[in-house]
Amino acid sequence: MEVNPRLLYCNCTYAKVVPRATAAGVLRKLCDSEASFDAVADLCEMSARNDPMLQEMARGGPIKIAACFPRAVHWLFSAANAPLDRESTEVVNLRSDSVDEAVDKLFRPGLQPNLPLESPPAAAPEKES
C-alpha cells in the first residue's frame, strides 16, 4: 500500500522571504483539510540549532516540504545531520508558487521528487586578462 507522504510546512517566521499571503494561504488550506501535518516556524533556525526534529522528518519516509528553493532546503537539512532522501522528497517552493499551485502539489496523490541531483561544479570561468 502506498504511504501518504508526510506534510511539512515552513512559516519562514524570521525573515518572511516567503510572501506572507502565500504562507498564510497554504497554512489555511492545510488547516481546512483533514490531513495531519507538521508546521515549523523557521527551518533555517532549526537547521542552525541542529534540531533533532529534522532528523525525525528526514528518516520518516516520503515527505513533501512546503518552504523555499529545493537546493536550500536540501542543504539546510543536510547541515543538521538530517540528509533528505532524494527519491522520496518533494519540495514545494512557496517563494515562487501561488497558493493554488502549492496546495495542488501538496495534496495531489503520490510525490514528485525534486531535490537537485548530485552534480559536479561547473568548470571555473576563465579569468579576464
Binding site: V40, P52, F69, A72
Partner: protein, 286 residues
C-alpha cells in the same frame, strides 16, 4: 546553553480519540499564532504517533472530552497536556510560553537565523571562504572538509562570503535573490570573478589600504585642510560605495574591527585554511 544543544518545545494539536476535532478556523488561528512565536506545531489525529525527539518537550493541546486529557505515555516527564476548549488564543500562547520557560526551552526570536549554508555538490573545498571570513564562522571537520562551525557568529544580512566562493556554493536561504537564496546556479553567476576580488580585499583588510590611498590623494590636494571630520566622512563615503557594490550592509562595514585586528584575524583564517590544505595534500600523498 549553546545554539546546538538547546531544548525546544513542540506543540501538538491532538484531534484523535478522546478529543473533539478543532474547527478549521480555530486550528488555523492557533497554529498561526504559535508559529509566529517560533513554536513548531503538529496537527494529528489518532493515525500518527507523535513522540518527542531528543532535546524536545511536547505540549499536547486539545478539546478533550470532559475537559480531561487522556493519559499520554510520558517520556522522561517531558509530555504534558492541556484542554483548550474555549481558551482564547492569548491563553493558548500563555500556556505555551509558560511551558517553554519551565522546560528551559530555546527562546525563539532572539536571533535572526542568518548564516551560510554550503551546497556540497558544488563545493570544491578551496577554502577561500574560510580565509576570507573575519568572524570565525567557518572551520574544517575531522576530514579537513570545510564546514560552517559558528552559525551565530555570522553578521546578519551580510552575504559577502557567498560572493567570494568561485563555485556559487554558499547560500543564504533568506537572501532576496538567486543563486544566493538557493535558486539554481547559472553560468553568469559563476562569472563574477572581478567583483569577488574587490569584495575579498574589502573585508580582508585591504579596505584600509584603499582608504589610505584615497586619503593620500586627498592629502596632496587639500594638504592644509585635513581634519578628522573630513577623514571620517571620506571613510563613510568610500565604505558606502563599496557596500553598494557588494551588497554588504553598511552597519557591517562600519562595525569592522580595527585594521590591526582585521589583519590578525585574516592571518589566523588564512593559516587555518592553509593547515587544512596541507593536511589534505599530506593525506593524498600517503
Amino acid at each position: 546553553m549553546s545554539l546546538t544543544d538547546s531544548r525546544t518545545l513542540r506543540i501538538v494539536l491532538f484531534e484523535g480519540q478522546g478529543s473533539e476535532p478543532l474547527d478549521p478556523a480555530t486550528r488555523f488561528e492557533t497554529a498561526s499564532a504559535l508559529l509566529t512565536e517560533g513554536f513548531s506545531v503538529s496537527r494529528t489525529d489518532a493515525g500518527e504517533a507523535v513522540s518527542p525527539t531528543d532535546r524536545q518537550s511536547l505540549l499536547v493541546l486539545g478539546n478533550f472530552a470532559g475537559g480531561q486529557a487522556p493519559p499520554f505515555p510520558a517520556v522522561d516527564g517531558n509530555v504534558s497536556a492541556e484542554d483548550i476548549d474555549e481558551l482564547p488564543i492569548d491563553g493558548i500562547l500563555a500556556l505555551a510560553r509558560s511551558r517553554q520557560e519551565s522546560q528551559d526551552a530555546f527562546p525563539h526570536g532572539d536571533w535572526k537565523p542568518w548564516f551560510p549554508v554550503i551546497d556540497y555538490d558544488r563545493c570544491t573545498n578551496c577554502m577561500q571562504c574560510l580565509s576570507f571570513c573575519l568572524f570565525g564562522v567557518y572551520g574544517v571537520d575531522d576530514d579537513n572538509r570545510l564546514e560552517v562551525r559558528n552559525n551565530d557568529s555570522c553578521k546578519t544580512n551580510c552575504p559577502a562570503c557567498s560572493r567570494v566562493c568561485p563555485e556559487a556554493a554558499i547560500m543564504f536561504p533568506k537572501y532576496r535573490s538567486g543563486p544566493i537564496n538557493g535558486d539554481q546556479v547559472n553560468a553568469a553567476d559563476l562569472n563574477r570573478e572581478k567583483m569577488k576580488i574587490d569584495i575579498s580585499s574589502l573585508l580582508g583588510g585591504d579596505v584600509y589600504q584603499l582608504l589610505r590611498d584615497r586619503s593620500e590623494k586627498a592629502k596632496s590636494r587639500f594638504a592644509k585642510e585635513r581634519s578628522p571630520d573630513k577623514a571620517l566622512n571620506e571613510r563613510k563615503k568610500c565604505l558606502t560605495k563599496l557596500a553598494q557594490t557588494g551588497d554588504i550592509p553598511e552597519e557591517v562595514l562600519m562595525s569592522l574591527p580595527s585594521p590591526e585586528e582585521i589583519q590578525l584575524r585574516a592571518r589566523e583564517a588564512a593559516q587555518k585554511a592553509d593547515d587544512a590544505r596541507n593536511a589534505i595534500a599530506n593525506n593524498n600523498g600517503n
